[in-house]
């Protein structure tokens, strides 16, 4: 954009712009990262505050060392069930009373039990912040876990697990992580699966809460229209005497990540499917991986952007799919690398083969400068719009807490990405991906798919879609 001189004059003549090529950018206005206030209470609870008074809203997230990897063996799914039960009766109020309390506040509350941590998220208008904090303290610290409520919610959870079998994308995801991780905790959905959820009861849930919900290792992140000092006092009043929970590390045993599986195709039958859901994957990388930034850039080129290789090939050239993408799920341990697409049944075998070919090709030769620039820029220049709202900022701060990132992490992010080279990307991808060892999953109409897949990939392991009536 030019200055306010000429271009600022009213009535710029029609057709005055040069349309022949993309206009050049004006000077970049730097992003000002939010200023953080950090507090720590005597019981170990940390409070991190980013004030932003643009809008009268507050995003609170309580991060607890209560993720799926902290679950005792044989109790997979207890973190999720515990999270769901927090609001089903707490601090002397019944489930119905807790529901009315929240709904009258008008706040939004949710619990997410991931592999690494559990996060209690509360979004509220700032004029009812005190009441919202009362609510948060009650459900985090004093859930009642009434036996009848545990029974009911476990039943709902089991029904949900069964209903998920109707969803081809969920079936495909589950089959893939099982194939990649086997008995490691990452091989089972974070929310658990039927065989263990069905055995969970009040005792396990209460024990998990007692051991894992506590101030030690926990952090409360607050962003938005708050006064940091006042919030500090308000949090201390409600959480200062919080005890319980055990120090990290956990008594959970996520298991060992096994040797890579030789590439093979698993075909899950879903008769009369309108499409084939395709996944390929392998053990990827941890958040702390030395090649983290190279992998981010490499993934953007392969399948992280609209203009990535797999999407341009399968969607924009061939029109076989609504979209194709890849991602590294960075976690405390090495989470999966996943490639995914859904294509019309008749081209499924060819699409899977193209997906593998694109992956292999990126491991052959370092990407060109054009692709490198696109990938790097899309990662660093997008930062401002990732720090726009209170809830975006709070989720960035959660990432910082969970992966123990340095305080200047986001300030240095740009330089870290810009230092990534094409040869560095090649080396990092070669060190983490091997197309010959990728697990491959297709969920669809086996009758229509099996022949094509066998023709291209040899042995295909065909399974009935589980649990379908």
């Amino acid at each position: 954009m030019t200055g306010t001189g000429e271009a600022g004059a009213r009535g710029a003549p029609a057709g005055s712009v040069d349309r022949s090529g993309a206009p050049s950018a004006g000077p970049l206005r730097p992003l000002t990262l939010p200023e953080l206030r950090r507090f720590e209470f005597t019981n170990g609870l940390r409070l991190i505050v980013a004030e932003d008074h643009q809008l009268p809203e507050v995003s609170l997230r309580l991060v607890l060392e209560a993720g799926a990897t902290a679950e005792p063996r044989g109790q997979e799914g207890v973190a999720e069930l515990t999270g769901r039960l927090l609001t089903e009766g707490a601090a002397g109020r019944s489930a119905g009373e807790v529901a009315s309390w929240l709904d009258r506040l008008g706040a939004g509350f949710s619990v997410s039990a991931g592999y690494d941590v559990s996060i209690l998220s509360l979004h509220t208008l700032s004029d009812v912040l005190e009441g919202a904090l009362d609510f948060l303290a009650a459900v985090a610290r004093h859930p009642s876990f009434e036996p009848a409520e545990v029974e009911r919610v476990r039943g709902e959870r089991l029904d949900e697990i069964d209903r998920d079998l109707d969803r081809p994308e969920v079936v495909a995801d589950s089959a893939l992580i099982r194939a990649v991780y086997g008995g490691h905790r990452y091989g089972t959905p974070a929310a658990g699966d039927r065989p263990t959820v069905e055995r969970l009861g009040r005792e396990q849930v209460a024990a998990f809460h007692r051991r894992r919900y506590g101030p030690s290792g926990a952090a409360l992140v607050a962003c938005g229209a708050v006064d940091a000092a006042a919030l500090r006092d308000a949090v201390e009043a409600r959480f200062g005497d919080w005890t319980g929970g055990e120090a990290f590390p956990s008594d959970g045993a996520p298991g060992a990540i096994g040797a890579p599986v030789p590439g093979s195709v698993l075909l899950v039958d879903r008769p009369s499917s309108a499409q084939a859901e395709i996944r390929l994957g392998t053990v990827g990388a941890a958040y702390a991986d030395a090649a983290f930034f190279e992998l981010l850039v490499g993934n953007a080129i392969l399948g992280g952007l609209f203009n990535s290789r797999v999407n341009m090939n399968l969607r924009e050239e061939r029109g076989w799919t609504y979209g194709a993408r890849t991602s590294f799920h960075f976690r405390r341990e090495a989470g999966p690398f996943v490639g995914q697409t859904a294509v019309e049944t008749g081209v499924a075998a060819e699409a899977l083969s193209e997906f593998l070919r694109e992956t292999a090709q990126l491991l052959e030769e370092a990407p060109g400068e054009d692709e490198m620039e696109l990938a790097r820029n899309s990662l660093v220049l997008s930062l401002p719009r990732q720090f726009e709202t209170a809830s975006q900022v709070s989720s960035k701060l959660v990432t910082q807490v969970v992966y123990d990132l340095p305080n200047d992490y986001w300030a240095r992010y740009r330089a870290r990405i810009e230092a990534v080279t094409a040869s560095g990307v090649l080396e990092a991808l070669r060190g983490h991906l091997d197309p010959a060892e990728m697990a491959q999953v297709v969920v669809g109409d086996a009758g229509a798919l099996e022949g094509d897949l066998e023709g291209r990939f040899g042995d295909v392991d065909v399974r009935a879609g589980a649990g379908r009536a």
């Binding site: 712009v17 004006g26 809203e57 009258r104 208008l125 969803r167 081809p168 924009e316 220049l381």
Partner: protein, 432 residues
């Protein structure tokens, strides 16, 4: 700041060619949202060409006079931006959210496709995106459990020939039938500057941004646009409609669509608040009764769509295993009956209003969301100030209004009921 004082300042300008421009400044983040909304959607489609407005939206990302295929996405992503488009019954939108120093890039791309799209479209691009859209239909509708429920509901709720009778995604045969001729005709008819609004929201200087908008857009002449489709009112005489759909699912779902106030109706906010009382949060009527007490439903939803010319209030209840669709429907109607007859309590209303206020704030907290809201307010209501006025409107909803809307809307003659049942089961959901 107190939540009563939320306000988003803006200026409205109209260019010489009729393009409306909304300028909203917020310099807190160096980001700008460029949002172009055209007043055309699936309700403008002609018979035999359902899905065309949405297919056309895809084509608009395939390059234009000065922009080669693939470049639109590449340039915006390389600038650190995000972009997309969406099509709905009444409107189609295109947006970029980018670092504010790249405002010109987004204006160049949007203006190029408004002015020079049809010289760049080819049969090959059409066929490619037809394939993509057919796979979108397969992925998001046909292969998704209950994915065909909404189109089935529309087919029964509206009479033959009604503009809201078909889904935005369209039917496969019609997607196959779309021709390059259709593409050119649709572009000429609807993609005129005087049929659109451009919203620039975020880190801008409003005067400067307006000048840039004029430089990029004002040269395209205004032209006549087809008259909006006639949308017949669906009255009580249509009576209750019922349908059953078999699907690859394990448990039945009950859908009830009620003809309700449109987005332009003075009762829209009361109708929206009614949905909050019925099914928002675990203390809501439907959730408490069906999920918690009776345990006949796994989940229940109720919502209303902000549509220009018709209104729909929709209830969706998913059965617990072993509960038949007919029984679940009876349970749903048992909850709706007393609301229809006696309205809602002050206490319920207070909660619903508080939730609406919070959700208004959280739906307007990014410049992209605000740009979208301004565009909707201009295109659907001809009133950009509605973005701010909505706060007062929701605050002012009374229990009497909700009771009146409930009594008008939640009646048998205004509803279409659909049971989605496991394939091979009978209408009660019992396995054959």
């Amino acid at each position: 700041m107190h939540s009563d004082s939320v306000r988003f300042d803006f200026e409205e300008r109209v260019l010489d060619n009729g393009l409306r421009v909304i300028l909203h400044q917020d310099r807190s983040t160096p980001v700008v949202a460029v949002h172009l909304m055209y007043h055309v959607g699936s309700k403008n489609e002609r018979p035999g060409r359902t899905g065309f407005a949405h297919l056309f939206e895809h084509l608009l990302f395939q390059g234009s006079g000065h922009v080669p295929k693939g470049e639109h996405f590449r340039l915006i992503q390389r600038a650190g931006g995000t972009l997309n488009g969406s099509t709905w019954f009444d409107r189609t939108n295109y947006f970029e959210v980018i670092p504010s120093n790249e405002l010109d890039l987004a204006l160049w791309l949007e203006s190029d496709r408004m002015g020079f799209f049809d010289e760049a479209i080819t049969q090959e691009k059409l066929d490619n995106q037809r394939g993509v859209v057919k796979n979108e239909r397969r992925q998001s509708y046909e292969n998704r459990p209950y994915g065909l429920a909404f189109e089935t509901l529309l087919e029964h709720a509206y009479p033959e020939g009604h503009p809201y009778r078909h889904p935005t995604i369209g039917y496969m045969d019609d997607l196959d039938a779309a021709s390059l001729e259709d593409v050119h005709a649709f572009f000429r008819s609807y993609y005129a500057p005087n049929n659109a609004v451009l919203v620039l929201a975020g880190d801008i200087d409003p005067d400067e941004a307006l000048d840039r908008a004029r430089a990029y857009f004002e040269e395209f002449p205004s032209r006549s646009v087809p008259a909006p489709p006639v949308v017949p009112r669906v009255g009580d005489e249509r009576g209750e409609r019922r349908a059953v759909l078999g699907d690859a699912v394990q448990v039945p779902r009950v859908y009830a669509l009620f003809h309700a106030p449109s987005f332009n109706d003075a009762d829209f906010e009361a109708s929206d608040v009614l949905t909050g009382v019925l099914a928002e949060g675990k203390s809501s009527r439907l959730h408490r009764k069906l999920v918690y007490e009776r345990q006949v439903a796994a989940e229940v939803q109720c919502f209303t769509w902000p549509l220009e010319s018709v209104g729909m209030l929709i209830v969706v209840a998913t059965a617990r295993p072993g509960v038949a669709a007919t029984d679940l429907e009876a349970e749903v109607l048992d909850v709706l009956g007393p609301v229809c007859d006696a309205g809602v309590s002050e206490d319920e209303l207070t909660g619903a209003r508080n939730r609406a206020r919070r959700s208004l704030v959280s739906r307007l907290n990014s410049v992209g969301d605000r740009a979208d809201a301004f565009a909707d307010a201009v295109i659907l209501r001809d009133d950009p100030e509605y973005v701010n006025r909505a706060f007062d409107r929701y605050e002012a909803v009374t229990a009497d209004e909700v009771a009146r809307v409930a009594a008008n809307v939640l009646r048998p003659a205004r509803r279409t009921v659909l049971h989605v049942v496991p394939r091979g089961a009978d209408a009660e959901g019992r396995a054959a």
